[in-house]
């Protein structure tokens, strides 16, 4: 059943997918390989949902879209840090999986035709801008690294400012050393492709 949630979350978003650096989807273009294997991981630096604090928690949504993401038919799963208390687990599941109005989660779930469920596992994080790392034990691992100039080999920083962005409005673009998902029913590995380190703030209306 669709539900309502009252929430306000701020934190860090790490994204990675199988597209080339810059990810065409950022610009409403087709994904580089015609399909999307990707993951977004949210680390809540400060926030609550329905009065339950989610500060310090990390969760991630991982999916395969056979075409562009907005075309739907996505297979996805949700990973959540197993340090979450029963109350926090309930709040995250309700917010991400069951609240259609919660942007961006409700959009991703509305495009999902095959939801594989919620997986609780230990999450280890190390945040260092475009050199951040996150590991969902046994499920997902991503390690960001700067893009490199193809001629000089030097770091290439690039930032997108998107006032209408629905996952974030400020994205530091990068690539990945590691990007691997090994969830039951959904697995992929796409290192050296697109990565981003972003800041997010989501608030219910």
């Amino acid at each position: 059943m669709p539900e309502k949630s009252a929430y306000h979350l701020k934190g860090i978003l790490l994204g990675a997918c199988n597209c080339d650096w810059g990810c065409p989807c950022n610009f409403e273009a087709r994904p580089t390989n015609g399909f999307c294997d990707g993951g977004y991981v949210w680390h809540v630096q400060e926030g609550q949902c329905d009065g339950v604090s989610l500060t310090g928690l990390t969760f991630g949504w991982f999916g395969h879209a056979p075409g562009a993401v907005h075309e739907g038919n996505i297979t996805s799963l949700l990973g959540v840090d197993d340090r979450a208390t029963p109350q926090q687990r309930q709040a995250i599941e309700k917010l991400v999986v069951k609240t259609p109005d919660a942007v961006p989660f409700g959009i991703f779930m509305s495009l999902t035709s095959n939801f594989l469920g919620v997986r609780y596992t230990r999450v280890e994080t190390k945040f260092d801008g475009v050199r951040s790392r996150i590991r969902f034990d046994g499920i997902y691992e991503v390690e960001l690294t700067p893009m490199k100039n193809p001629v000089t080999g030097e770091d290439e920083p690039a930032t997108l400012i998107k006032p209408k962005g629905f996952t974030s409005k400020h994205q530091e673009l990068c690539t990945t050393n590691k990007m691997r998902l090994a969830g039951q029913g959904l697995a992929f590995e796409h290192p050296n492709k697109y990565g981003e380190y972003s800041l997010f703030e989501y608030k219910s209306a």
Binding site: E28, A158, K164
Partner: protein
């Protein structure tokens, strides 16, 4: 006024670029071009600038080019366009700059990617810089115009700005869609509407 035998130059300009890549042009992020090759145009309206004692204020220049692979892999074909209102000294100055001979980015780097250089054209430039909806017509040989990228679901105009501190053509720009990106000169002809475009303000020098 010269440094290392080269005349000092600098200018500030409005810049419009369009190419055959998808919106967001992967090359901006050191990725391969969408179609594996690059066909693009770029036009500068110099608001203030000089080459030694020669004023470049109000003049314009542009390029249209084809590269068979990514730009940095070279072997490109280029046609340069210069403002027909420039006098002999100014024409020489613009040629020295745009050919890369005078040194300085971005021309010095771009020039190294060309193996075929077509006859330069001295023609009229009509600019209409108006943020995301900008346009340039160069003689009757080149037209480039831009508009907002549209959200594929809602159809609403998007707002995307890129900051790229190490960029050598621009360090920040509005990320846009082309309405027109076409050139027709002997040896170089293409048309790529509804592809990648950028509008930026730039400052260059040697």
């Amino acid at each position: 006024m010269s440094t290392n035998g080269k005349v000092k130059w600098s200018f500030e300009a409005d810049y419009l670029q369009a190419c055959n890549c998808d919106f967001g042009c992967p090359c901006e992020f050191s990725a391969p071009p969408t179609k594996g090759f690059c066909e693009g145009v770029g036009a500068w309206r110099i608001n203030r600038g000089s080459y030694g004692s020669v004023s470049l204020n109000g003049l314009a220049l542009a390029f249209a080019a084809h590269w068979p692979k990514a730009i940095h892999e070279g072997n490109g074909t280029v046609c340069l366009f210069f403002d027909e209102r420039s006098n002999a000294q100014q024409r020489d100055a613009l040629l020295q700059i745009a050919s890369g001979k005078a040194g300085g980015l971005p021309y010095e780097l771009i020039a190294a990617t060309f193996s075929t250089i077509l006859e330069p054209r001295f023609v009229s430039f009509q600019f209409d810089f108006n943020g995301r909806d900008s346009r340039v017509q160069i003689g009757n040989q080149l037209v480039a115009s831009t508009t907002s990228i549209k959200n594929p679901v809602s159809g609403e105009p998007e707002s995307v700005h890129v900051n790229h501190a190490t960029g050598f053509i621009f360090k920040e720009a509005e990320v846009l869609a082309s309405k027109d990106c076409r050139v027709d000169v002997e040896g170089l002809k293409f048309s790529w509407p509804q592809k990648s475009a950028f509008v930026a303000q730039v400052k260059y020098n040697n």
